[in-house]
Amino acid sequence: MSKGELRDVTLVEAVNLALHWEMEHDENVVVLGEDIATNGGVFRATVGLKEKFGFKRVMDTPLAENLIAGTSVGMATQGLKPVAEFQFMGFIYAGMEQIVSHAARMRNRTRGRLHCPIVYRAPFGGGIHAPEHHSESTEALFAHIPGLRVVIPSSPQRAYGLLLAAIRNPDPVIFLEPKRLYRAVTQSVENNGEALPLDTCFTLREGDDVTLITWGPCVMETLQAADKLAHQGVTCEVIDVATVSPLDRETLLCSVAKTGRAVIIHEACRNGGVGAEIAASLAESAFLDLQAPVVRVTGYDTVMPYYRNEAAYLPQVEDIVEAVEQVIAL
């Protein structure tokens, strides 16, 4: 695997680069999941790992998601750092009990005697014309669970740096990869093993008129909307939340103190979404800074439609532009 700056790297390739780097530099890192070894993963995120590090550290598991989640807990208590793949987020639910009741609680239960440095990776979100159950974005389920980190990259560079940080973090991380962005954009990635910080928002663009708060796949449409609005003379501050739990409220509050307006954009359905937590935090702590109500642009409170209608479900650029125009008008 080439070191140094690599051009034209996709998000899924960045994931692969980070896995290679960390497996090479830390013998405790192991990778497990369905079809991840010989096949290299259904999205090829783990391609080449088995050839380089062998079956002992790159494990094709039986087809049992609960087992993948729970086996990782046992491995972690032995000092391994498992990176477990769920093939799609829609299949993670079989592993919920192990993640919620054990991975998230082992450190607390043993007062730090044992802990779970696990990364649970899952491709998430819609937009690739996949079958039912293959387009879920239920990050809020995990954001609600104490003891878990929920990290969502939105570019190749952040996928690389945040995955390294997640693997090195001594506590469990749900790492959700927006599969709509897996191959949608490319970037240069410095393959130097440098992690990015967790628990920190990334301000992608500075602006004065409104703060656009988003993460994961919607970062793409949000940036496009900010471009359009710039032509209309509206400058948007675009924040990629990246770690949706625990939340970096400080960055969000500082930005809203400056702009006085906020629009939250996420693909997941609205009811009980992470956007609701952010909106509530802004209402509690930035009320006097706000010049307009906080507005959300989200998926609808329904089941993700089969793919002929998925575009109608996903937040579109014009939805974001419209929401900004609405808050600017006030």
Binding site: V30, K56, R57, M59, T61, P62, A64, N66, L67, A69, G70, T71, S72, V73, G74, M75, A76, T77, Q78, G79, L80, P82, A94, E97, Q98, S101, H102, M106, R107, N108, R109, T110, R111, G112, R113, L114, H115, P146, G147, P170, D171, D199, S245, P246, L247, D248, R249, E250
Partner: protein
């Protein structure tokens, strides 16, 4: 049609209900020291058990799951395991835990609502804490065993699960993985006939739980869980096999839950006094005591001294337990992550301010 494979489930028993040998005893019957240590552990566990139930009844302990009926299999597990092996328990393994070196005080702390009961296991720091959600620990056991296999160590894992737990996917997925990956793990399904009120007959149509091993490609072995010699022999063999890289074993230890499910349960609602009386006739602790008597290794004076010693040890632990101050309320967030995230800092300060004076 021709028969593709033939499967069998072994079953082992050496002592009758009165402690009389039914057969030549295994070699370990010559190890007097081990047998006496086993009997002492069974009595200690039983003494601990009745005391904690009394503490619960008098409001000095939380809901507690009695170990009554599990003393023999638990002791056999604890003795067969090496210090370097890893134990993955469920919540009725007190007889193993005393032998793993847990203090009686810590065992009380756990049931007495204090996380520190699972914290300072200096004699077995790699052992997993008690798992409450049924059978979930089986997945952890194969994870630990995978780590041992990856590193090529000669160690093994023992995982306990109840008969009810063998109905769960966690158990079935885990024995399946243990077979597929030849993992150094011994599953002990402690069949005490009851999952709270649900009898063993409603858990599975299979004649034995041991035979579930066959579908996973493991040897399955049924054993009389109240027969110390049988249980110890089967465990010694399975552990040796696991440590030697020969793979996993499922042992079904047949016993009977002589107490209620927990102190919150009333077993008279679903089982008869006659059933319970018959089960007491098979009590493994009494059975081993009879055998010791028959072999001139035990007498009334020794029994009296042992009972007094166990009582003293338990009473001392109760004193320590009751004298242990609760953790400060801020401890509820201090062990969630290695480093407290800023998002939680304000909540910690709120707790500290609300319970000022309780800060550590």
């Amino acid at each position: 049609m021709r028969q593709r494979h033939e499967f069998h489930v072994d079953s082992t028993r050496y002592l009758d209900d009165h402690g009389k040998p039914l057969d030549d005893l295994p070699a370990l019957a010559g190890d007097t020291e081990r047998i006496l240590a086993a009997y002492r552990n069974m009595v200690l566990t039983r003494t601990f058990d009745s005391k904690v139930i009394a503490l619960q009844r008098t409001g000095k302990c939380g809901t507690y799951a009695s170990v009554l009926g599990h003393e023999v299999i638990g002791t056999a597990i604890g003795q067969s395991m090496a210090k370097t092996d890893v134990f993955v328990p469920y919540y009725r393994d007190q007889a193993v835990h005393t032998l793993r070196g847990l203090s009686l005080r810590d065992m009380m702390l756990y049931w007495g609502g204090d996380e520190r009961g699972s914290a300072n296991w200096e004699n077995c720091p790699e052992d997993l804490p008690i798992a409450v959600p049924i059978a979930t620990q089986c997945c952890h056991a194969v994870g630990v065993a995978s780590a041992i296999r990856i590193r090529g160590e000669e160690r093994a894992v023992v995982c306990c699960v109840g008969d009810g737990g063998t109905s769960k996917g966690d158990f079935l997925e885990s024995i399946n993985l243990a077979g597929a990956w030849h993992l150094p793990v011994v599953f002990v399904a402690i069949n005490n006939q009851w999952a709270i009120s649900t009898p063993r007959s409603l858990q599975t149509g299979a004649e034995t739980i041991a035979q579930k091993a066959i579908s996973a490609g493991l040897p399955g072995h049924a054993v009389d869980g109240n027969d110390y010699f049988a249980a110890s022999e089967v465990l010694d063999t399975a552990l040796e096999r696991a440590r030697g890289g020969k793979g996993a074993t499922l042992i079904e230890a047949v016993t009977y839950r002589l107490g209620d499910h927990t102190t919150a349960d009333d077993a008279t609602r679903y089982r008869t006094a006659e059933d319970l009386k018959r089960a007491w006739e098979k009590d493994g602790v009494k059975r081993l005591q009879n055998w010791l008597h028959d072999n001139d290794l035990w007498d009334a004076d020794k029994e009296k001294a042992l009972q007094a010693d166990c009582k003293n040890r338990v009473e001392k632990a109760v004193e320590e337990y009751l004298a242990t101050e609760p953790q400060p309320p801020t401890a509820m967030v201090d062990y969630l992550f290695e480093t407290l995230p800023p998002a939680l800092q304000a909540q910690r300060e709120r707790i500290a301010a609300k319970y000022r004076g309780g800060e550590s």
